[in-house]
Symmetry: C2
Subunit: 259 residues, 2 copies
DNA sequence: GCCTAGGTCCCGTTT
DNA sequence: AAACGGGGCCTAGGC
């Protein structure tokens, strides 16, 4: 049984197609820069930064017009095999199976799908000019602190954000009410020892660069791990509880609108 | 036009179904713990650790039997919105649209999809008992070094792997030909300053724990960034070029088989 | 549950 | 092209 829908160029939908028919329309979909998906009984091999082999079974496979490839089993957020955008997809039909190959040349990586049977094949051109907006990331915390420096502490003033130091950028650089230079490292989620070491790195770099012996280091985030806090205290750094949610409330108040 | 395939319980495939029909079979697929996918003209909102809003457009949506949810636009490896496994999916049909809601209670996070139109709906039970194996990760480097310590240097001996220290685990702990204690940090990819700081942390912790003043620290990876190497030298640590690929060759030689 | 560390991480941005 | 840091990162493994 092979039922077919929408063959007039807009989209393609094949129910349980024979390999040969699937091959024909798969090529059509790929050539037409459509979003292609299919459920296939297949084997998958990957070679590149690492190697992997997935033995035979049914999976959902998605190929996007930009060359990204996703192979999903029936569990989990992550694809079992994949390629990021900018791969070249090629196909080949032999007697008993269909090969789909995705090659990324920038970093030599190859995914090969050996297909023995297809349950369904769909090709669509997504009409999507929608806009995507996200709130509550580190960037929003930064904006809020620029507008409301007291979110860090009373008397705090921002000198600048994204200040360059040797190894990267300081999230927020300012002075406290006593006039002491202060480095603020922001995290939108839980801070762990990594974040503490990062702050330490920035404080030390800046001391060296400016030839100053005293610079305060403040880590601002909604939560910090126990070990992170321990390390922080050992290194004479400070912690300020601050959540993206609280920052957003301040931003909304300023703009007078709900996000 | 709504063509229908495989309604006998095995799978469901609807071509351009009216919302009402889609709703009925969507519920059927979800209740039957099938893999569900559809292409929909929709809006998406997310609230949890952060918030986001995606305005109207066509996307490919996948709901897995384990409760994971993926919403893909026609570009990129990553879904624009998603939920990891263990969410509760609910649906509601109103006059002019279909709502699909995914709630994760462990960390209060909600994704809502407002659907205005469906291009296709599929529900399948994936038959997949295949095995997945991967080679060339840090773990394989560790195994290879245990069997062939000279991969680090002549005369090197492994005392143990995964040795616990204050803040975590040392990848490989051993002694060199001079009897000096040595900490090895492995990276399967390019090492940057982070990796160097990680190694430093381990070396320092171990010095403290053992009351020893001299411990060698070796970072082994296929590549290291310029700044990483700079920092490494400043901190009196060492670099050993070592790739997963080379480790795999040694492992294959040992096992006498091709991976 | 918390916490650490790895990942074929991906991805944007800047040098 | 290299490199650094963020991410709703996700996921596995200890404790």
């Amino acid at each position: 049984m092979s039922k077919v829908g929408g063959m007039e160029g807009n989209h393609i939908l094949l129910d349980n197609p024979p390999l040969k028919e699937a091959y024909r329309f798969l090529r059509k979909g790929l050539a037409g820069k459509m979003l292609v998906f299919f459920i296939a009984d297949c084997e998958v091999s990957y070679r590149g930064r690492a190697r992997s082999y997935l033995s035979r079974g049914e999976r959902l496979i998605v190929i996007k017009p930009d060359g990204s490839l996703l192979i999903h089993r029936d569990k989990g957020y992550e694809p079992v095999n994949w390629q990021p955008p900018d791969t070249v997809i090629s196909t080949r039909l032999t007697d008993n199976h269909l090969l789909v190959k995705s090659v990324r040349k920038s970093v030599n990586e190859v995914v090969e799908i050996h297909i023995f049977d297809l349950k369904v094949l769909g090709c669509y051109r997504l009409k999507d000019i929608g806009t995507f907006t996200m709130y509550g990331r580190e960037e929003d915390m930064k904006k809020a602190i620029e507008m409301f420096p007291s979110l860090i502490e009373e008397g705090f003033k921002v000198l600048r954000t994204e200040r360059k130091v040797r190894p990267g950028f300081i999230d927020v650089f300012g002075v406290d009410s006593q006039g002491r230079l202060t480095v603020v490292e922001l995290k939108s989620g839980t801070s762990s020892m990594d974040a503490v070491l990062q702050l330490k790195k920035y404080v030390d770099s800046l001391k060296k660069e400016l030839g100053v012996t005293e610079i305060r280091g403040i880590l601002a985030s909604p939560r910090i791990t126990k070990r992170g806090l321990q390390l922080l205290k050992t290194l004479k750094l400070e912690y300020k509880p601050l959540s993206p949610a609280k920052c957003l409330k301040y931003l909304e108040r300023k703009k007078g609108l709900k996000l």
